[in-house]
Point group: C2
């Protein structure tokens, strides 16, 4: 509607862009006061039919759109949410971002995004900077310290965490139940007969990594030995760590995430190590590509967009600031696909050879 008018007018202009119409222009055009225009547009107070008609006509004719800066200045609110992610290249975070954005769009909120490049040190500044332009921040998988996070939470109008719960502070959070996910993977591997599992560790500062470690301490024991292998959170990390995992003598590799697992899978393929015949492999998150590789990845499924949507919900709820601090836990679900199988003696022999060459 108004867009048509706006575009029509701009079209007729020459290269020089005319300054945008203000509410004053509309008021003059419609023969009313600016207040009336505002009331028509916001509906804050009823306006009788006849002036309303004139205002609407004038708005359309001039292609008027209220200046958001002026609105923001007055209302003290921006109708925007900032999303801070460690790495946009990581499909996981891209999906979470998509979930937040779509939900926000629905509520007429805009989404600001910042990529910290996996640098924990950049998170605070990014969040702080973004928070100036937004009503609050959704912080994805922050790597910063607990102390820093608590401080940040009090400096930002609203803060919601994804995949980071903190007992002490009352920061609303939506998080996957990593303990349960890791436990179900361990159970699955143990039932298959694996006794020695190599775990490809994620970033040590990530809360989700620490949660996984908690689960491993519980799951590990005399009948299931966990070999810890430093790795990281990207597929190249997984690719690099695969050799070490192979050398560990484990019959199964449990990766920090699908993204990492895919890197390891590629490396196994390069080395001619058959999955799952010679070694089993599991991921975490169930990203889209995990269904496309061969063998398809056994993993734990998480609705990432839903994570974003729930974060948005928490964000909205924390507006009515009474009930801050609520935490939503999302339960992941094991999906057994082709990358896991019972260990074979042949597998371990073959592996020795592979490692020696």
């Amino acid at each position: 509607m108004w867009c048509n008018a706006a575009m029509g007018r701009a079209q007729t202009g020459t290269g020089a862009r005319p300054p945008r119409a203000t509410i004053i222009d509309v008021a003059r055009e419609a023969g009313v006061s600016p207040a009336t225009v505002s009331r028509v547009l916001t509906g804050s107070k009823p306006v009788s039919a006849e002036p309303e008609q004139r205002v609407r006509a004038a708005v359309a004719r001039l292609g008027y759109r209220p200046n958001p800066a002026a609105q923001g200045l007055l209302r003290g609110t921006t109708s925007a949410v900032g999303v801070v992610v460690p790495d946009l290249s990581n499909p996981y975070f891209a999906e979470v971002l998509k979930g937040v954005t779509n939900a926000a769009q629905h509520a007429d909120f805009r989404t600001l995004v910042a990529d910290t490049g996996e640098k924990a040190g950049a998170e605070r500044d990014a969040a702080l900077e973004l928070s100036r332009w937004a009503d609050g921040i959704v912080l994805c998988s922050p790597r910063m310290s607990q102390w820093e996070l608590t401080e940040l939470a009090s400096a930002v109008p609203r803060l919601v965490c994804v995949n980071r719960r903190s007992r002490g502070s009352r920061i609303p959070a939506v998080a996957v139940d990593f303990e349960a996910g890791v436990a179900s993977i361990c159970r699955h591997l143990r039932e298959l007969g694996h006794r020695r599992v190599a775990y490809l560790r994620g970033p040590s500062r990530a809360w989700s990594e620490r949660a996984r470690q908690r689960a491993l301490r519980t799951a590990g024991g005399p009948d299931l030995e966990i070999v810890q292998i430093p790795c990281g959170s990207s597929s190249v990390d997984g690719h690099r760590a695969a050799d070490v995992a192979l050398a560990s003598g484990a019959t199964a590799v449990m990766a920090f995430s699908d993204y990492v697992a895919l890197g390891a899978l590629a490396r196994f393929d390069e080395l001619g190590v058959a999955v799952p015949e010679e070694i089993s492999l599991t991921g975490f998150d169930d990203i889209a590509l995990s269904r496309l590789v061969s063998p398809r990845l056994t993993t734990v499924t998480v609705d990432k967009q839903d994570l974003g949507r729930r974060a948005w919900q928490l964000f909205i709820d924390s507006g009515a600031d009474g009930r801050t601090g609520s935490t939503v836990e999302v339960m992941p679900e094991l999906v057994v696909r082709g990358s896991t199988a019972a260990p074979t003696a042949a597998g371990s022999i073959e592996r020795e050879i592979v490692h020696e060459r």
Copy 2:
């Protein structure tokens, strides 16, 4: 610095958030006028040492940060760029977004993002809406009509396109040279001995798809027959279209993109069709995962983050509005990996069988 102070103060407060300090508060605290505070912070005019000291101290003590809405209102500029993408789940667009964001961050610009869910109809409104809050828009792979695009360009303060060139209108654009990319793939397949290639089409409204069609008209001929197969732009589309491609009797499948090719590859794997022994497969874009699947995908490599960076550069350049309309062309490069090979007689026989079952 100031953040520390800000956080410190907020920390001491109770649950109720104190209203943010304004420039007036700082001025009072420092015993100067607001004008002086502004001058210290923006450096618009020199201020002697002693008051500057007091101002800086006051700013730190109060944790003052200028209100962006007020600044924006006055300056008439937002220091933000809007990015409109068809689908954030698509790694291609996520990478482009990352490129823009990182470049923008460098220039102290914020990034607003909108996801149109691959709906051509949503693009215009998303761009228009975002443009209210930004100094301009980077439009990724728009599917809208040429006419609509031209109109949009005149309604948005600054508009830069990615992967969409338009002869008529003077819209700055950065685009991959799809013709060259497709041509190099065709040449590669022909050199391998393929004579019948199935092409998995992208969205028909996408400019990049039309560019590919132009290249195919040139490349196709008596010695290279192109079979057109409707598909789409996502991996599930590729998965679905794989069967039709197989039935077409082609010895090679050229997918619209890597993302699509990975879907097709997964389907081939399910069907037990060996790649590249029984059928060759090529992608386009070289997304990260293409190096991780088995066989690794023969494709055409595009630096997607660089695309975003260049779009940002165009965005900045078009600020000095004299030289609008410049177009940057990015040349993709063929990378031959494991998914292509010479066709075999066995392959085509096998395929018949597969198709019949």
